[in-house]
Symmetry: none
Subunit: 415 residues, 2 copies
């Protein structure tokens, strides 16, 4: 069972809008066992929409369009679909009444643009949109389903969540698709894939794996596809367990867990208060940690000591140490950990100091030289990185690596 | 001059990765006067990639693919392009040497997977990738250009920014397109567009304007398109001046300037040291300010006082004030400004305190209640926001608003 998604709108092609509809639809359809075979984006003109409909109808059983239905759009979608399905636009009184009621509730009247919206393909079954004026349109032609949805994500979901997805599910019952995710950090895609290759070689035909790398971390996705839900679940569980055991030192969690959440859960579990002392990460560690709702129950805060003055005054780094070793040194990040703990009453702290670039490097300490320390008042562990990304890349890599070090430190010392 | 973009990867079709490459490419190509005619996303298999190449070659002169080139990918892209262009994969010693050197610098060795990456379409001109192992591939066939890029955004940009875009620009010259950008903050799109409509009404036919809103800010883009470069430049300059004068209190800069850069430039000009004291923004202010290379010459740092303990100990907020007024109050953010200045020896400081949500609200102070203060030791200006976005949206809106307040404060008090 395959689907195609066609997103329509000039704003998607000139880069001013990032399409999030199709990823939401893909995730929801995946849960129903429906694969996306192909995805298109077209501007607001008929020819490419027709091309996309043609190719989609050859490759997919369900063709979903989003966009091109609003009052200021040129109704490209409806005209293109009508032409393609040899259908005609007809005035729909129900839509007219709905739009009139919606506008009244907002204290506004009907305009010509709104009236244009009331013409619908004659064969379309309309699906109510509680959030806007354009309903969803369900059409069938030569065994294929065509579903046209508005482009505003809130409206698209208001059609699909209560009604559209259920209509699709009722219509197609077939294969299941199950995903399982293993979250890893601190190790590259290639090394992980080589380590687990012997396990992947034993996958049954219904299973596949994908490596989804991001900065200093790799998400593994194990996918099972087939008709027997229980067997698929068993396979996915068995191989998720085997793989995560094989690379257990790199695994920080499962599902959609982030590294900040993993660290937060460890802090909650062992009743640990966390603080950070940031130089080169410049607040990013604090931001990652506080992006988790509820972080205030374990996170004391951060001293973003961008100047040496702050390192001395707030983190108690001695000025002779800064003069002798430089701010980017093992001794300084270790003292930053102790200083942050003293200033914030935390149990553990993370400290970073480095040269993120593009300026500030020297022969001894080129751009990309970064020291990280994690630990308690008594013990600190350190690492030196030599990175070659741009400023933002260096900072992000440092922050993720530092969070992962803290995760491992807590697991080793508090578990 | 038309282009097509083909993004390749199962992760784009199952909704697990949101494609940002194509919007970045579209924006950059637009600046060169190149329209995107069509956009596809295909999974990691040859048939849909071939379909997409076929349709693209019928509608576009430049066909760009992203993705499908990494070490664990199945090299779908290279094989599909070779088949489509009747080309063959050949071992490329230069790529081998580059990968070997890159791996050595990371202390790692070559694997079989890496060796597979060294086979390139025989006709391809390779474009260096400073951030990864897969170079860009530039191929020409029957008057069309095919450009294959890796899918990791950092790597894709590392190929396009220094070399790829220039190669494309050199290749196609026709009409000139000139853009001018006016950066505004603190005012919505509707109010700005109403204020400048009389000026826009006087635009010559070669000029157009677009409003590009983002959080708490709007970028105006004035575009001129035509054959006479000098005339276009004159028009763009004249109307950019007129418009920015009309809304001057909202304009913080031109071109690609960010608000953090604008604040940084003011600090440099008036020799002001800046600090921040953040509660609800949780380090985002620090991160925005330190994302600018050279920020260390005016930015002292941030105290991210997530706990009341830190507000008392490091920012000298009296405990009875916290008890009486609560952490989210005007009196507390004013004291946070004074406390941050005292702790960091800065001249000016920004402070934020609020309830970002989704939890933590009360009847008196619902989620989205946020106080901001900016000022010196002697004078502080404050504002109260009542926001209704999600956690991240509330934090971002607060940070941008706070930076804009600091910009206006410096302009008023130091200029």
């Amino acid at each position: 069972m395959n689907a195609a998604i066609i997103t329509i709108g000039d704003e998607l092609l000139n880069g001013q809008t990032i399409d999030t509809n199709s990823s939401w639809l893909a995730q929801e359809l995946n849960l129903l066992g429906i694969n996306i075979a192909l995805k298109f984006s077209c501007g607001d003109s008929q020819e490419p929409v027709r091309d996309a409909l043609q190719l989609s109808s050859e490759r997919a059983d369900l063709i979903i369009t989003t966009g091109g239905l609003g009052p200021t759009k040129d109704d490209i979608t409806k005209k293109s679909i009508c032409d393609f399905l040899s259908d005609e636009l007809r005035f729909d009184q129900g839509t007219y009444d709905n739009i009139l009621a919606l506008l009244k509730s907002r204290g506004r009247g009907m305009t010509e643009l709104h009236k244009n919206q009331c013409y619908m393909p004659g064969s379309a079954k309309l699906i109510a949109n509680s959030q806007g004026t354009a309903p969803g349109m369900w059409m069938e032609h030569e065994g294929k389903i065509y579903l046209a949805l508005p482009g505003v994500p809130r409206e698209m979901k208001a059609i699909m969540k209560p009604l559209g997805l259920g209509m699709i599910a009722n219509r197609f019952s077939g294969e299941y698709i199950i995903h399982s995710f293993i979250q890893t950090a601190g190790c590259g895609e290639t090394i992980i894939s080589e380590a687990i290759q012997p396990i992947v070689d034993r996958f049954p035909a219904s299973l596949s794996i994908a490596y989804l790398p991001s900065i200093a971390s790799v998400k593994l996705r194990i996918t099972a596809k087939g008709k027997d839900f229980d067997i698929l679940q068993t396979w996915v569980k068995k191989f998720t367990d085997e793989i995560s055991f094989e690379i257990k030192e790199h695994v920080y969690g499962f599902g959609e867990l982030t590294l900040s959440e993993a660290v937060g859960q460890l802090c909650l579990r062992y009743k640990i208060k966390l603080a950070t002392a940031e130089s080169c990460t410049g607040g990013l560690l604090a931001q990652l940690i506080t992006s988790i709702s509820g972080a205030s129950s374990y996170y004391q805060g951060s001293i973003v000591a961008y100047s040496n003055e702050l390192k001395m005054n707030l983190l108690r780094v001695p000025d002779d140490l800064l003069a002798l070793q430089g701010a980017v040194s093992e001794a300084v990040v270790k003292q930053m950990v102790r200083g942050a703990i003293a200033a914030t009453n935390a149990d553990v702290a993370i400290a970073t100091s480095g040269i993120a670039g593009p300026t500030g490097g020297s022969i001894d300490k080129p751009v990309g030289t970064i020291w990280i320390a994690v630990g308690t008042r008594e013990t600190q562990e350190t690492v030196k990185l030599q990175l070659n990304k741009d400023r933002i890349g260096n900072v992000q890599y440092t922050a993720v690596t530092a969070l992962n070090m803290m995760r491992k430190f807590i697991e080793k010392n508090f578990a």
